[in-house]
Each structure stands twice: as C-alpha cells, then as structure tokens.
C-alpha cells in the first residue's frame, strides 16, 4: 500500500478562500482515487493548507489499478461460426479482441446466441492516472476571484502557482500543473526558512518536513496553537481575558504558517473613545484581539497574531511597531471624532442631498423624507396602544438617522454607521431616546442579533427597512434566486423578527401599507413577506415545516399570533386525539372537494335531515365553537387546541355511521353543510389538514 502526497505551492491565497479550497481539493482527490480504483479499504485522506499551499495526503493508495477482465461482445454465433468452423467474421473479431479463435465463447442473450471474448485489462499505474487526471482537478477548483499570470493566459487560478510537490511514497509523480513540473521539494516559512527548497523524503513525512521548515500545515493545529498562545499572552496581565472572536481566529489561522502572539499596549487615554470604535479598529482594521478586564471592560492592551517567531529584540520591535500603528489609528479616530463634533448631526441634513441612496431613487435626504412618512403612518397605528413611546423622539431619530453617513468617522469605519450616529446624538445632548433609536437602527443585523431595545428604535428600524424594500421592489430590484445584492431578504427578516419579539401592535400588512407601496406592487411584497415569515418560523424558530404550513394557511399577517399558534400546535401535535382530529379534517376537506367536483352543494344543516351521529357532531361543534373563539381571542391556543382534540369520539362516530355523500340530495346537502361548518369552526388556528401524521 502506498501514500500519495500533493502540495500546490502558491503565492499568498486570500484567507477567506482557503478553507473551502482545501476541502474541495480533498474531495476531488478522493473522488478521483475512488473513481480510478486506487483507494484501498481503510484508506484515509487528510488535507492541509497555509496561505502559501494546499496539500492532500492520501494514505492507503494502490500503486496500480488491479487488472480486470471484461467480456467483449461480437457478432452472432451463426455469423462467426459455420459448421463449428470460424468464419472470416469470427476470425476478425478474435483478432480485434486480441484473443485466439479457440478462446471465443458462446454467450446466450435475449436476442439469441452471440460470440464473446474475455479481454484482460491491465490496470494502469497510479502515477499514469494522476499525471493525466490530477492537473484538471486542481485547475477546476472554485475561487471567488481568479487571475491569470502566464503569457497567453492558459489557466486561471487564485494566485500564481510557484511549485508543486507530487509523490507516491518517495518517488516523484511527474505531473505538471500550470506549467510547473512536480518534484519532491516544498518551501518553508518565507523568513524563518528562506528560499532553500525543503526536501520531502516520503509522502508520509510531509507534515514533519514542513514543521522543520517552520510551517504548521495542519489548520486545526494552527488554530489550537493560536488559541493557546492568546491565552498564555493574556495571562501576563492579571485578571484579563481576550475577547472571544471566532471569525477573527479563523482569519488569522489562514494568514499564518508559524503563528505566535504578542501582547501590546496602548495609552489609557484612548479608552475615552467609545468601545465600539476601539474594537472595530483593532478587529476589522488591524486583526488584533481586544483584551478586557475582569469586569468585561476594555483594557489598554491588544493581542496581535504574528506569522513569525522573533527573538527578544525582534519581538520588542514588532510589539512597538504594531502599537505605533494602533496609536495612529486611534489618534485618527479621535481626530475624526473631534472634527465631526464641529458639525452637529442636526446641521448635516442638507449634505445628505449629496449622498446617494440609490441612483434611480434619490439621495439619503430623499430617503429620510420617505422614512418620515412611513414612521408617521406607523405611529398612527401604534399610538394609544400598549406600547407607549415618545412620538417626537421617534420623528427626530428618523430625521437624523442617516446624518452620520456624512461624518468622517463613518467614512473611515463604515461598519459602524448607526452606532456612530447614536453616540454622536448622545454626545451632542440629544434626548437619550433619540440617541438610542439611532444607535439601534440596524439591529438586528442577523438572525441571532437582538432587536432594538426601545419602541422608538423598533419603529425606526421597521420604517427604514420597509421603505427600502418597497422602493427597491418598485424599481425592479427584488431578490431573485440566490441573488439579493441589496440584502432585502435580510431587511425583511429583521422586520419579522422585530414584530415577533417586540410588543408592537403591528401586522405585516400594517407595515406594508404604511409604505408607499403601489396597488400593483402589493401582491409581490406580501408574498415576499410571507416567505420571510415562513423562513423565520422554520429556520430561526425551528418549527416543523408542516406546522408552519398549517399555521400560515390560516393567517400570515400577524407575526406574533403566528408564532403563538405554531407553539400551541407543536405542543399538541403529538397527541393521539389531536392526530385523529387532524386526520378527520383532512378527510372533511377531501369530501368537500369531491362534492364540489360532482356539483353537490352544501346547504345549511337542518335537524330533520341529519342522522343522530351528525346531530351529535353539530351539537358539539356549536357548543365548543364559541369557546374556541373566545380562547383564540385570548391567544390561549393550547387550550383551544386541547378542546378541539376532545371532538375525537364524536368525529369518529360520525364517520363510522354517516355516509356524508348520501344518495338523498337533501341529506347529502345537509351533511355537507355540517362538515363545512365544523371545518370552518375549527380551522381558525391552523389548517390541520396540513399536518403530516405518521
């Protein structure tokens, strides 16, 4: 059994693309080996990557395909042999198949007797196959952004390929990728190992050979080293912790080959800047981890993950250099903050006319005016409800919400828009409600994010997003398939989440109607929100798809109500009685459909025409119908559903004894009228016929 190693040496691959490419390469190599019958039982394929390389090590590979036999079919027996003597056709076939005439066999088929020959196929060597097939697999890797570098552009890849190592055990597989002939050498860390080739003795020694050249090729190992050394560096400050940031750990893992960590400091005076700004500078701009004290407050330190191992002198230089850059960044932020204060938010409205919201629609000034109109309409509905809010503060917040787009700090840190506006509003002495609403306007930014903490913030967030959605739909920018360049789905998800998790007395149609949606466009927007609500119930809240369908079939407008109904339905759907009732509902629906197809009409039920069991059902339905309505009004859906489940014996009796589609037209019509009424009485919470029963 052999081992196969492939390493593609590259100029630094973008960190964000490495993990997926490593996995894809592993999959392609595995599939190739399987397809070509080169994988033995128990073979294992490991993948590795650093910014400068992608590698696959397959252990348990066959050096050669097994030989096989194959039966080749020839002409019919009668044509190949006359009187047991081979004919010219028979001899020609034997020659073509490469066997003696005496080796030809008679093969029975459904069409008669034919001549066949067993042909031995000699397996190809792994090396031959890899030379022919592997380069295509490598060059077929998906990259979010490609380049070409060789004259005449023979291939595209993420970055230039600079070396290739391809080996079976200790021999080179002489394949060629992007003009580079494979060898048995790699390269180590740029600085710590330098340019000299790193010889790999055997495929299996790959990981250790690279480790000796200051490259940890295993991503999981690097990740762990980084986490441990972050911990160790943080321990030098009493009581401190580094701020967990999984995404940043991933990024620095893919930016390093030999990671180490330094802890640096910054002047305490910068802690006066808002934490949001400090963390953004450290994380997004410098890829540093923030450090917090025992109370969770930012401490004047940072952690940088390096791609080198320096001696003490080097470490001091590197620490100093990084601290210097951070200081300059903080000083910039401070400078921008101070400059921005010279023009308060209230004085920035006019300059919004110069900031484009959307080319075909208008500027952010226009956007603010539109948002105000929407907020006004929403406020009219919410006014006087149980969600008290400060109307003046809301309108002020809507008016100023986008003014931070003209500030230097937001130009520098675009990811902090809204947050900066809120901080400035506070610093400029605006009402705290105004400041908080502006601060929270983009929350929730994801399905996991929290909704704005105040009613004003919730209304601002809804108004801003529905305005955007409706305006974008109006100019043909609705999302299609996987394309949603304006993140309108995310905006709608946020609206649904706010409606679900706030106490706002707003339905989706209230929200949609508050916008300037056209009559013609309304259906599309309604359908879009219905899908978003479905997404929220199913993917965010985790309700079963049949529960979601059952709930939405009866009503998809009131988000909180839909959630409550889904919860109640989920709670009862397991009970046997309920399953029986939902099966009955399905049956009723089917009968009504058949009746309609046959032109049978339901009439209001009359006592005289109903069987005893039907009268029982009618009585029970009339008895509990109002109770269910009452419970539903109180949103006591679980109790209402429990009550519906008590119908089971009555319903069972009815279907046992009564033939609904009675030959007598009067009886039939009365029966139909009855089940129609029963179905309507009990379908206000969910369409039970959607429930999938085991």
């Amino acid at each position: 059994m052999s081992d196969f190693l492939l390493e593609i040496g590259l100029e630094e691959v973008p960190a964000r693309m490495i993990a997926a490419a490593e996995a894809e390469l592993g999959k392609r190599v595995s599939e190739l080996l399987k397809r070509e019958r080169l994988m033995s039982n128990g073979a294992k394929v490991a993948t590795y990557s650093t910014p400068r390389r992608l590698a696959v090590l397959a252990e348990g590979v066959q050096a050669k395909q097994a030989d096989t036999e194959k039966v080749v079919m020839g002409p019919s027996w009668k044509i190949a042999f006359k009187d047991a003597e081979p004919t010219a056709a028979g001899e020609a076939f034997a020659k073509k198949a490469g066997v003696e005439v005496s080796d030809l066999k008679k093969i029975e088929t459904s069409k008669g007797e034919y001549v066949g020959a067993s042909v031995k196929l000699t397996g190809r060597t792994a090396s031959e196959i890899l030379i022919a097939e592997l380069p295509k697999e490598v060059l077929g890797l998906y990259w979010a952004k490609n380049m070409y570098w060789r004259a005449a552009k023979p291939e595209r890849f993420v970055r230039p390929v600079r070396w290739v190592a391809a080996m079976i055990d200790s021999s080179v597989v002489p394949l060629e990728i992007a003009g580079i002939a494979a060898g048995n050498t790699s390269r180590g860390h740029r600085v710590l190992s330098g340019d000299k080739p790193v010889v790999i003795d055997t495929a299996k020694s790959y990981v250790e050979a690279l480790r000796a050249a200051f490259v940890v090729v295993d991503v999981a190992e690097r990740r762990q080293i980084i986490r441990k050394t972050l911990d160790a560096a943080t321990r030098t400050v009493a009581g401190a912790r580094w701020r967990e940031d999984e995404a940043l750990v991933e990024t620095v893992t893919h930016l390093t080959e030999w990671p180490t960590v330094i802890l640096g400091n910054f002047e305490r005076k910068y802690l006066d800047l808002p934490e949001e700004v400090l963390v953004t500078v450290m994380r997004d701009h410098q890829k540093y981890f923030a450090v917090e004290d025992a109370e969770g407050k930012l401490a004047p330190h940072f952690l940088a993950v390096l791609n080198t191992q320096a001696d003490d002198e080097g470490a001091a230089i590197i620490r100093h250099g990084n601290a210097r850059v951070l200081r300059a960044r903080f000083a910039d932020a401070r400078f921008f903050w101070d400059v921005d204060q010279k023009t308060p938010l209230a004085k920035r409205m006019e300059s919004l006319k110069n900031v484009t919201f959307q080319k075909e629609l208008g500027s952010y000034y226009w956007k603010c005016e539109q948002n105000l109109a929407v907020a006004n309409a929403l406020a009219t509905i919410v006014r006087g409800a149980d969600a008290p809010f400060d109307e003046a503060a809301l309108f002020k917040a809507v008016e100023l919400a986008k003014t931070d787009l003209t500030t230097e700090l937001v130009k520098e840190f675009t990811e902090l828009q809204g947050v900066i506006g809120g901080l400035y509003a506070r610093a400029q002495g605006l009402d705290e409600k105004v400041a908080q609403a502006i601060y929270d306007q983009y929350s929730p930014a994801s399905a996991e994010g929290a909704i704005p903490s105040t009613v004003e913030g919730q209304l601002l967030g809804i108004a801003d997003r529905i305005q955007t959605i409706v305006a974008m739909f109006g100019i043909g920018n609705a999302p299609t398939g996987s394309k949603d360049p304006f993140a309108l789905r995310r905006a709608a998800n946020a609206i649904v989440k706010i409606l679900a998790e706030s106490g706002l007395p707003l339905t989706l149609s209230d929200v949609i109607n508050a916008s300037s949606v056209s009559d013609a466009g309304k259906a599309q927007v309604n359908e879009f929100f219905r899908e978003r609500l479905q997404f929220y119930l199913k993917d965010v809240r985790g309700f079963a798809y049949d529960v979601v369908n059952a709930v939405l079939a009866v009503g998809a407008d009131d988000v909180r109500d839909a959630v409550a109904r889904a919860e109640a339905l989920t709670a009862v759907r397991g009970s046997e009685d309920f399953a029986a009732v939902s099966a009955a509902c399905k049956r009723i629906k089917n009968i009504l459909r058949q009746a309609e197809e046959k032109g049978f009409r339901p009439d209001p039920p009359k006592l005289g025409q109903l069987a005893l069991e039907a009268i029982d059902l009618w009585d029970r339905s009339k008895e509990i119908g109002p109770q269910i309505s009452k419970l539903s009004e109180q949103r006591a859906y679980r109790e209402a559903l429990a009550l519906i489940a008590t119908l089971r014996p009555t319903v069972d009796q009815f279907f046992d004894k009564v033939m609904v589609l009675d030959p007598d037209e009067k009886v039939r019509s009365a029966n139909l009228g009855l089940i129609d009424e029963v179905l309507r009485n009990f379908s206000t919470i969910a369409d039970f016929s959607e429930i999938v029963t085991a």
């Binding site: 100029e11 952004k145 380049m147 570098w149 740029r190 400091n265 305490r268 000083a331 080319k359």
Partner: protein, 320 residues
Amino acid sequence: MSVAQPEARLKTSSLTFQDLLFRLQAFWAERGCVLQQPYDVEVGAGTMCPETFLRVLGPKPYKVGYAQPSRRPADGRYGENPNRLFKHTQFQLILKPPPVNVQELYLESLEAMGIDLKHHDLKFEEDNWEWPAGGAWGVGWQVMLDGLEITQFTYFQQCGGMDLDPICAELTYGMERIAAFLQDVDSIYDIVWARDKETGATVTYGDVRLADELQFSVYNFEMADVARLWEHFNSYEAEAQALLEKANAVLTDENASPKEKKRFPMLATYELALKCSNLFNLLDARGAISVTERVGVIGRIRALVVGVAKAWAMQQETSS
C-alpha cells in the same frame, strides 16, 4: 491590572527619507529597471502616469520605477493630521512581465531599505485594486509590516478595458509610511527628509512639505473657483475629445502611413484626460459635484481615459 506604559523607543533607522528613496531606486536599477523621474502632470496615483498606464498595454516587456507625488485633494487635512496627506509619495514599480521570484525580489528590496525581516512580522493580505475610470483592475495584496500597510502589490489583469498579455506586477511603496515607521516618528511631518553630513543639521518633511499641505487644503476646500474648474474641465475635455476623434480616424485609415500614425500625439491627448481627472478630484473636494452629476462625470473621464488606452494600443500595433 497593570498600567500600560508607553513603549520604549527602539533603535531607529538613521536613513533619511531621501536615503530610503535612493536605496530603493538603486536596488531596482541594479535589477535592470529604468528609473524615471516623477511625471509632471497632477495625478491621483502613480498608476495613472503613462509610464504605467500606457506601458502596460501591448506585448512589449518593460521595467520601470519612479517616485510619484500623488495628489488626492479630498485627503488634505491642512497639515494638522499627523497621518494624512493631500500629496504623498508613491514609489511606483512596474515589472512587465513579472519574474517568477517577484515576491522574493520585493522582500529583498525591503532589506535594501534596512528592514531586517528576521525582526519583523510580514504578511501578504488580500487586497484587490481597481480604477474604474481607467477600466483597470488587478488582484493582489496589501503588504503588512508589523501591522502597517507599506506596499500595495498588484497583478494587473486589465487596463483600458483590455485584457493584458503579458500581465505586469505593480509595486506601490508608501514612502512616507515606511519612513515614519523606520524612523519611529508619530507624525509624518517629523520624518527626517535630509541630513547634512557635516553639521548633522536635519531638514524635516514638515520643513519641505507643510506649506503645501496647508495651502493646498485651503485652495482645495475653500478657494478653488468652482465655475472656473468646470470651465477648465470642459475645455480640456473638448480638446481631448477632438484629438481622440482624429486619432481614431488616422489610426483606422488604411491609407495613412505608419509614420503618420506614429506621430499622432496620443501622449498629449492622455495628459488632457489626466487634467480632467485631477479637476474632477478638485471639484469633488470642493463639494461641487452633486449625486446626479457624479456618475455622469466619472463616465466622461472614463470615455477619455479608456478611449486613449484603446487608441494607444492600436497605435502601437499599426505604427510598428
């Protein structure tokens, strides 16, 4: 919790701003590059100089380096911000086609400026570049040294809307950043630009450039005459357009001789387009370009710049 102490000053480079430039230029000159002087028309980036923008077109290999003052009117800060400049110095290097060891050569060039890589942390982080008005883009990295971006490294893919073949590598060194880093000063204005060997007296970046920063900020933000800037813009544009039309006529004329084609002033046409680009930047800094105008004006500049690039490529083909 310990109190953060200011970092101790470390041994700093004794190389002046101009020493660094000399070293960098000498390094690349030794490797066969043409050393050009800065281009004498206002540009926003070294890429826009004809030594880059036009030379990268077509098949002819070329290696060139130059230290280009790059003007970005909106970035001016009246000389008050220690890290931001209206006009900064880009050492621009074009290697067409890029040698296979271009990254290693780049690292050597850092060593040539006295940067001992054993004592620093170096990363190549993805950063792609584009200049939409020039129909130009490429992929590459920002090179980070101890957390500081010191170079933009780009493999050009397209220019003037045309695929390049061969491609080139463009290295753009931010000289002020590198100097401030090596000299360990917190303000660009404290960079030692030159030092008198005999007296030890120094001339700082502030001595040389502070007045530029202050006065051009005043001009760019406050005093540039918007109406006249538009007039200049329209005038340069009109002349460039007229020349482009003639160029296209001559270059596609089968009866025109190679000599006639060769002498057509594409370079002069390109300068007129560059003038427009700079005037746009001035108008922008002045806040004189409205939302609705913006896209349109960029489109006009693009028409000139890309038009010249295409005509230039044609001229190279037809006149040789």
